[in-house]
């Protein structure tokens, strides 16, 4: 579906102005969209899984662990595919207003792609360099939207997710170095063509939502506060979008239609898209592992 087609359908959760802003800028943020009961349930489930991580010593199918992770001091950088690790996470993806927000942005037929919860710890460990999501998991069109919710809120010091407005209307950049190695980040030469001065990182109270189009360049600075900043991120697409590589972070919910129905035809957008590595052969750790080479990618100014 094109943005025009999507906007013709009546909004469910967002205002029409918020939807228009999303298509214009490549992102939109909003507060008060997620009911308190859901937020409490997510927070509790998150605490349960972090508690469970004390039993785990190495990164695996659920946890991406920092090197200094210990049973006494858990340092989980990411819960992978949370929908497979706690029923509340799954229910939230399927039944909550989150999927309705997705419908407002991808159209009435909504497919689930993937999910994660990122925990940005105090200190410099979890800088996320500038990147475009769709280059990690390309689809036949550019409907995919990442919906994020700050479980504890996020202020300026905590390294909010930061976007380059309108960058979704520009090119997709190759996330490789000159030798053809995957870096998971846009190179310095390409970033020099991007209006970095327009970068903005919406902050918000507990439950603040950020919707991010799959083409939009984004990243996040380190967490300069003394509190962990958890952010749940689920990717939804229009049901007429099909991934053409194996998703690097597959889950049992991936590909499920959560709203509406499966259309008979795909929507294929011929705009150029670089191909990622074949994750089934190279394996996929996390964005932290692929971005760990090199400097801070211009994230710290």
């Amino acid at each position: 579906m094109t943005p025009e087609d999507i906007l013709k359908h009546a909004p469910r959760v967002l205002s029409q102005a918020q939807r228009e802003a999303y298509f214009e800028s490549g992102y939109v943020s909003g507060e008060g969209l997620i009911p308190k009961d859901w937020l409490e349930a997510l927070r509790t489930a998150s605490d349960e899984r972090i508690e469970a991580s004390r039993q785990v010593t190495d990164s695996g199918s659920e946890f991406d662990l920092a090197p200094d992770h210990t049973a006494a001091h858990p340092h989980v950088r990411r819960i992978k595919s949370p929908v497979d690790h706690h029923p509340v996470f799954r229910k939230f993806a399927v039944e909550s207003p989150f999927a309705d927000i997705a419908a407002d942005l991808v159209g009435p037929n909504v497919k689930f792609h993937s999910g994660k919860i990122n925990y940005k710890h105090p200190g410099g460990g979890e800088i996320v360099k500038w990147h475009q999501d769709i280059c990690f998991w390309p689809h036949t069109n550019y409907s995919p939207v990442t919906l994020g919710v700050y479980l504890d809120g996020c202020d300026e010091a905590m390294g909010p997710l930061t976007v380059i407005p309108e960058s979704h209307k520009g090119d997709l950049f190759e996330h490789y170095d000159d030798e053809g190695n995957w870096t998971g980040t846009v190179g310095a030469d390409d970033m020099a063509t991007v209006p970095l001065d327009r970068a903005t990182g919406p902050t918000g109270e507990k439950g603040a939502v950020l919707a991010l189009n799959c083409r939009t360049i984004h990243g996040s600075r380190h967490n300069a506060s003394d509190k962990v900043r958890p952010m749940l991120l689920y990717v939804y697409t229009s049901a007429d979008a099909y991934p053409w590589t194996i998703p690097p972070t597959n889950s049992t919910l991936s590909g499920e239609i959560l709203r509406g129905e499966q259309p008979r035809y795909p929507h294929i957008d011929p705009r150029p898209c670089p191909a990622p590595p074949d994750w089934t052969r190279t394996g996929y750790g996390s964005i932290f592992t692929s971005q760990e080479k090199g400097d801070d990618g211009g994230m710290m100014g």
């Binding site: 036949t140 099909y242 008979r264 795909p266 294929i268 150029p272 898209c273 670089p274 074949d278």
Partner: protein, 300 residues
């Protein structure tokens, strides 16, 4: 890559006229390219697998067996994923004249997709109704080509693969029944439009290579001779073609670049294909099974 891009690269084994004929007609048959040595190896491996099938009583991930299959009288309709059955079959896929023919038809960067050996037995058991390949395993473009090699001389009586010239430039037809279950073939009305009366039989001597574009309408009639007609079929695509649905016939080698290098950018042809069933979830038996509505057995 577009046909023009592909043709701008020097040919490897085919003549330029043969390549042009493929893009014009949607298919090609060429004799004399597969060496006698390779042909003997392939036939020997194939015979071994038929022999091995005697121990099985029903279809499994290796074999599609006819309901008439017995230990005394093996009736294998298809050997699935031969590249996963014996290294010779994989060597043939990645390092033989087959790979070179693929490069001539999809461009210098060649990706392997899938493979099988079909055995057409005497009688009408393995008639393959008119169909296009790409609706069962859509890619982001229409570069995929199925290459086949006949193990012995195949004439009109053996039910050779038959193609409708130019049909690859026509519509993508629905391969569903009206109730939206997968049929795997063109409806009567669609077929009329495709003009099967123009179909050409791809006959040839042992070792003849046939090439069929993924959009070309093709099928095969009954085998009116007294011997089984094996046909080894491998699918290749340009490296810039990517599948966007689970493969009905996955192999451990699917997606491997067998020549040239991986694509930096996808080639996305916006011409839309009807979405096939999700084979991972619904299972895929074989074209014989789906065209006859046999109960589907998950192939993997």
């Amino acid at each position: 890559m577009t046909p023009e891009d592909i043709l701008s690269h020097d040919p490897v084994v085919l003549t330029q006229a043969q390549r042009e004929a493929y893009f014009e007609d949607g298919f090609l048959a060429v004799e004399g390219l597969v060496s006698a040595e390779w042909l003997d190896r392939l036939k020997a491996r194939s015979d071994e697998f038929i022999e091995r099938s005697r121990q099985f009583t029903e279809s499994n991930k290796e074999y599609d067996l006819s309901p008439y299959h017995t230990a005394e009288d093996p009736y294998v309709r298809r050997l699935r994923a031969p590249v996963d059955r014996h290294p010779d079959f994989w060597d043939f896929a990645r390092d033989s004249v087959f790979t070179e023919v693929a490069a001539d038809l999809v461009g210098p960067d060649v990706k392997f997709h899938s493979c099988k050996i079909n055995y057409k037995h005497p009688g009408g058991g393995e008639v393959v109704k008119w169909h296009q390949d790409i609706p069962a395993w859509p890619h982001t473009n229409f570069s995929p080509v199925t290459l086949g090699v006949y193990f012995h001389d195949v004439g009109d009586d053996e039910g050779p693969l038959a193609c409708i010239p130019g049909s690859h430039k026509g519509p993508l037809y629905s391969h569903f029944y009206p109730d939206r279950s997968w049929s795997g073939y063109l409806s009567k009305d669609a077929l009329q439009e495709a003009k099967p009366e123009n179909a050409v039989n791809l006959t040839g001597k042992a070792g003849t290579i046939i090439a069929i574009n993924c959009r070309t309408v093709h099928g095969s009639m009954e085998n009116r001779t007294g011997r089984v007609r094996p046909l080894l079929l491998y699918v290749y695509s340009s490296a810039d073609a990517f599948t966007w649905m689970p493969s009905p016939t996955p192999t451990s080698k699917s997606g491997e670049i067998v020549r040239g290098r991986a694509a930096q950018f996808v080639h996305m042809d916006p011409y839309a294909i009807e979405v096939p069933p999700n084979w991972d979830k619904e299972g895929y038996g074989s074209i014989f099974a789906s065209q006859r509505k046999e109960t589907l057995a998950k192939a993997s």
